[in-house]
């Protein structure tokens, strides 16, 4: 069965590129630009992996990550966090909240694919 990945990213061109490269690598990809809606979706139907941007409108990526870790059904969900600010403070906050992998923008597509395959154990 095709594995599912949820991308929470508010930059449409980045999420389009991610959707394309991940789909081409055999993933079923859902995209959301809204943290609140994505949390609701995940609670009903958790994906196999989450790619999460830090800077989002409304709820930040940190807020979403906190929420993900609070709920039983997504507590162990692998989360790959993307940020344009690769500063120590962001990384430290993400690690404190339980991120699985952290990647800074701009990233190489091959890096994302490799990280996703690694996190998903595929």
């Amino acid at each position: 069965m095709e594995k599912r990945i949820l991308v929470i990213e508010d930059e449409p061109n980045i999420s389009e590129a991610l959707r394309f490269i991940l789909s081409r690598n055999g993933w079923q990809v859902d995209v959301s630009a809204d943290g609140h809606a994505a949390i609701e979706t995940m609670r009903k139907d958790p994906p196999d992996l989450l790619i999460l941007d830090v800077m989002l409108p409304g709820l930040s990526g940190f807020d979403v990550l906190r929420s993900v870790r609070e709920v039983e059904c997504t507590r162990d969900l692998p989360v790959l966090m993307l940020t344009a600010k690769g500063q120590g403070a962001d990384r430290a906050e993400a690690e404190r909240l339980g991120v699985t992998r952290f990647m800074t923008k701009p990233f190489a597509n091959a890096e994302v694919i490799a990280a996703v395959q690694d996190l998903a154990g595929t």
């Binding site: 980045i14 991610l18 930040s60 701009p106 091959a110 890096e111």
Partner: protein, 439 residues
């Protein structure tokens, strides 16, 4: 090989345009048809003498057949591919890509050059960002555009076939993001040029005090454990380099000491747990001025907020002139380092209505639109005396909006300062935004 690879393609194209057969051209320039065939398929180098002869036979200048620009295109596209982690097989085909799609190769090479220039700017700004946090959102926009261009260019450069619809869409995305990059870069350069004459170091006493407090997590734990303000060390502190900053630091320490005495940690935290972040209720409970509650909330031990999984609040204080005399930053809500803040901030509304506490839901202007709740209050300063000037100080506490803080009041859209605000049609705007095209 790179320089000559496209030359072969050009020779072939020119020969076809003139209706010459390969064997005819080969005979004219004195090489075998099979050798010319190899040249035209970019498998053999073309020496300068042969290039001159071919150019003469085809009625063009040698430069037309072999321009340095082609080599630059290939190298630019190659650099973009290398930084995006393309594998060797892709790199082998970069000349083919450049030859087949010279226009898109030009876009890619130019974008690569722009990315490199922007990265140099980003490096230079890195340190500055630490002290000038509202630049962060502008840089975020640029880095997002760079990410999109890089990722999309890699897809287009990939050896795998892409359906025409997707190809068109990605081409459009690259053009869109390239324009966004250019606008963002211009805005940043303008900003940096304009700021050249500004003071950029941590020289101002107020900034030194804020930096010193930031290092301590905006919390003076000595005060919580019974030490008097005079026992808090402000000498021999690296961040406090001048007597002016140490004097200012002592003043703030004395003020925080008074706040701690009036609002001891344990009962205050218990009250927060009971009533939530409700400064009005807390002020009533402890019978203290509203602004004292706001300051105390901003200077609690960091672990109090960490344990409750909420970020520590931001705090900004201004004097009667509106000058910001204290700033404690909050993620997502930036306070300007220079000049005044957004005229729409409840801080300034409070300044106009002393002794009246305000609670205003805020949303930050721009695409991200973060939601916050601001509590503001203006108190009179100094002792009452006849004919003394009327001095005021306004305080604003900012906390992230969450489900428990929703009110029926409409959200007020605010920025950090006019210079970097995306709300273009704001009636309170003092000056044009330098980021108008970038956000």
């Amino acid at each position: 090989m790179a320089r000559n690879a496209l030359t072969g393609t050009r020779i072939r194209a020119r020969r076809n345009m003139r209706g010459l057969r390969q064997s005819e051209l080969a005979r004219t320039v004195g090489v075998s048809p099979s050798y010319l065939n190899l040249i035209e398929h970019n498998r053999r180098k073309v020496g300068p003498d042969l290039l001159d002869a071919l150019a003469q036979a085809l009625g063009v200048s040698p430069d037309t057949l072999a321009e340095d620009g082609d080599a630059r295109l290939v190298e630019g596209a190659r650099a973009a591919a290398l930084r995006s982690g393309a594998d060797l097989a892709d790199l082998e085909r970069i000349e083919e890509f450049t030859g087949r799609f010279p226009g898109w190769a030009k876009v890619l090479a130019q974008t690569q050059g722009r990315v490199e220039r922007l990265e140099r700017v980003v490096d230079q700004l890195n340190d500055r960002m630490t002290h000038d946090p509202y630049l962060g959102e502008a840089l975020h926009e640029i880095i997002s555009a760079v990410t999109s261009v890089q990722s999309t260019a890699t897809i287009l450069n990939d050896a795998q076939e892409i359906e025409p619809d997707w190809q068109l869409r990605f081409h459009q995305n690259i053009l869109q993001d390239s324009a966004r990059l250019a606008e963002g870069a211009v805005a940043l350069v303008n900003y940096l040029d304009a700021a050249k004459d500004d003071e950029m170091g941590l020289a101002a006493p107020q900034e030194e005090v804020e930096s010193w407090l930031a290092e301590r997590g905006f919390h003076l734990k000595e005060l919580e454990t019974g030490s008097s303000p005079s026992e808090v060390r402000v000498t021999d502190q690296i961040a406090l380099s001048s007597e002016a900053s140490r004097t200012l630091a002592r003043r703030w320490v004395a003020r925080f000491g008074a706040d701690v005495s009036a609002l001891p940690l344990e009962p205050f935290v218990s009250a927060i747990d009971m009533y939530g972040m409700a400064p009005d209720v807390l002020a009533e409970t402890f019978q203290v001025p509203f602004d004292q509650i706001l300051r105390r909330l901003a200077f609690l031990p960091p672990e109090i907020y960490e344990q409750r999984s909420v970020p520590a609040p931001g705090l900004v204080i201004c004097d009667s002139s509106g000058t910001l005399v204290f700033r404690r930053p909050l993620q997502g809500f930036t306070f300007p380092r220079f000049g005044g803040g957004c005229p729409l901030w409840p801080l300034y509304q409070a300044l106009q209505t002393p002794d009246m506490p305000l609670r205003v839901p805020l949303v930050t202007a721009g695409r991200l639109g973060r939601r916050f709740i601001a509590f503001a209050y203006c108190a009179r300063q100094g002792q009452m005396s006849f004919d003394a000037p009327r001095l005021l100080q306004a305080t604003m506490l900012v906390i992230p909006d969450d489900a428990t803080q929703h009110t029926d009041k409409p959200m007020l859209s605010v920025g950090a300062s006019c210079r970097t605000c995306a709300q273009l049609d704001c009636p309170a705007r003092r000056e044009p935004s330098i980021l108008m095209g970038a956000v």
